[in-house]
């Protein structure tokens, strides 16, 4: 194996690294935020609101994110307000992963026994206060591992924006593969880059999980 050669490929690919990392960070953060109003709607007493949010979640979860990207990318263009590939990818990923994360939040909140809320009310907390001080901290610990998994999937999904000409790492790899014959080396380095990125993210999430653990 020609190590200096692999490093040179890595150097060329890393021109797209900033875009991949920026897109991943933005997509993960915005998805986690967008999921908050969604989970509020999911747990709302109003049946209409619940119905709307459930339909939205079913709709985006049962359609491929690639088709959503094409829909937004080519659709916005035909309206005369073309969105950039980056914005399109971000939007599609937040719409889709927000839905998944809302389900994760709901699972976390519902995993906290009702007795806990009752105990909070018994010592004189208002329902809102009981939720914030009793339920939320417990739910937060439960959702970190599945959120971390979802984040890894988001990082991997950022590769899809290569198809709407965003110059991230997969895009650069494909350009190189079209021009050279070193395809094994190129995709090996690309795969390693993704493994490193996802490993760093899961590592950070594990530290967060440890920090939140009750000692």
């Amino acid at each position: 194996m020609d190590i200096p050669f692999l490093l040179r490929i890595g150097q060329t690919l890393s021109e797209g690294l900033y875009t991949t990392v920026l897109l991943s960070v933005l997509a993960i953060t915005l998805s986690a935020l967008w999921a908050i109003p969604l989970v509020v709607g999911l747990l709302a007493p109003s049946r209409i609101l619940r119905g709307i949010v459930t339909s939205y979640i079913e709709l985006v979860r049962n359609t491929p994110v690639l088709v959503q990207m094409f829909f937004i990318f080519f659709g916005s263009g035909s309206l005369g307000y073309p969105l950039s590939g980056f914005v399109t990818g971000l939007l599609a990923m937040v719409l889709q992963n927000g839905a998944y994360m809302a389900e994760i939040y709901r699972g976390g909140i519902q995993s906290v026994p009702v007795r806990q809320t009752e105990a909070g009310l018994a010592i004189g907390f208002t329902p809102a206060r009981a939720f914030r001080l009793v339920v939320l901290p417990q739910a937060l610990r439960k959702v970190i591992p599945p959120l971390s998994n979802q984040g890894v999937l988001i990082i991997k999904d950022t590769s899809l924006v290569a198809t709407i000409s965003v110059a991230e790492i997969t895009f650069h790899a494909r350009m190189m593969a079209d021009r050279t014959a070193a395809v094994f080396e190129i995709f090996l380095v690309l795969a390693v880059l993704y493994i490193v990125l996802t490993a760093i993210f899961s590592g950070v999430m594990r530290i967060v999980e440890k920090q939140l653990r009750i000692r």
Binding site: P64, L66, F71, K156, T170, R174, V183, A191
Partner: protein, 214 residues
């Protein structure tokens, strides 16, 4: 509307390809997931390390990168597989890892006492696995299994990028000629939605049915 009607024969072809790709990938991924899960759990240290390495790699590498690697590298490796077979294999290898996790988790969820009970009535290991453990693991595995199948169907849309004429690819071709992205991609999305939604419903129906027997 007229545009959609005119595009229908082409789109139908794409749907058939998508369904065929999905079915083949799901079957392959299920079989390999089951085999890998058993290897990881009962195959000894060497097989376990091998399976875990495979899981680790798949967990970190995007499906699109694997598809590109197959698409670009297979000819250099002297492999003359057509893109279609290659696509099925890559999708199956990718989602086989998710299936492995599903099956492994389900088998591990069966309490240790069930093994002891099986041994107590004189069953050998394979018999316990088939007659006692699998029966119970099936119920645990069903919901995440269906979710993974939905992910496979959605995942097959990526083959459009390497030029396989599935419904996403054909949709894109039509859009390039007709400049009607909302109608066509909206319709393509609806096709995926119907397939995946029906599958999820079927999943929850089966789940309830099994529960009833239980």
């Amino acid at each position: 509307m007229e545009l959609l009607i005119n595009s229908m024969p082409l789109l139908t072809k794409g749907v058939v390809t998508t369904l065929y790709l999905s079915a083949a990938s799901i079957v392959l991924a299920t079989v390999s997931g089951l085999v890998f899960a058993l290897m990881q759990l009962y195959g000894g240290i060497v097989l376990r390390v091998l399976v875990e390495t495979y899981l680790y790699i798949i967990r970190g590498v995007p499906l699109l990168v694997l598809l590109f690697a197959m698409y670009y590298a297979a000819p250099y490796a002297g492999l003359t597989i057509d893109a279609f077979t290659g696509g099925i294999i890559v999708i199956a290898v990718y989602f086989g890892a998710f299936m492995t996790e599903v099956f492994r988790g389900a088998i591990l969820s069966v309490p240790e006492g069930q093994w002891e009970a099986g041994r107590a009535i004189g069953f050998v290991r394979s018999k316990i696995l088939i007659h006692i453990i699998f029966q119970q693991a099936l119920r645990v595995a069903a919901p995440p299994y269906i979710n993974t199948c939905v992910a496979v169907i959605k995942g097959t849309s990526l083959v459009a990028i390497i030029g396989l004429a599935d419904v996403t690819y054909i949709g894109k071709q039509i859009v390039e000629r007709t400049l009607a992205p909302f109608e066509i991609f909206g319709f393509v999305a609806m096709i995926y939605f119907v397939i995946c939604f029906l599958l999820s419903r079927l999943g929850s129906y089966l789940e309830k049915k099994f529960d009833y027997i239980n």
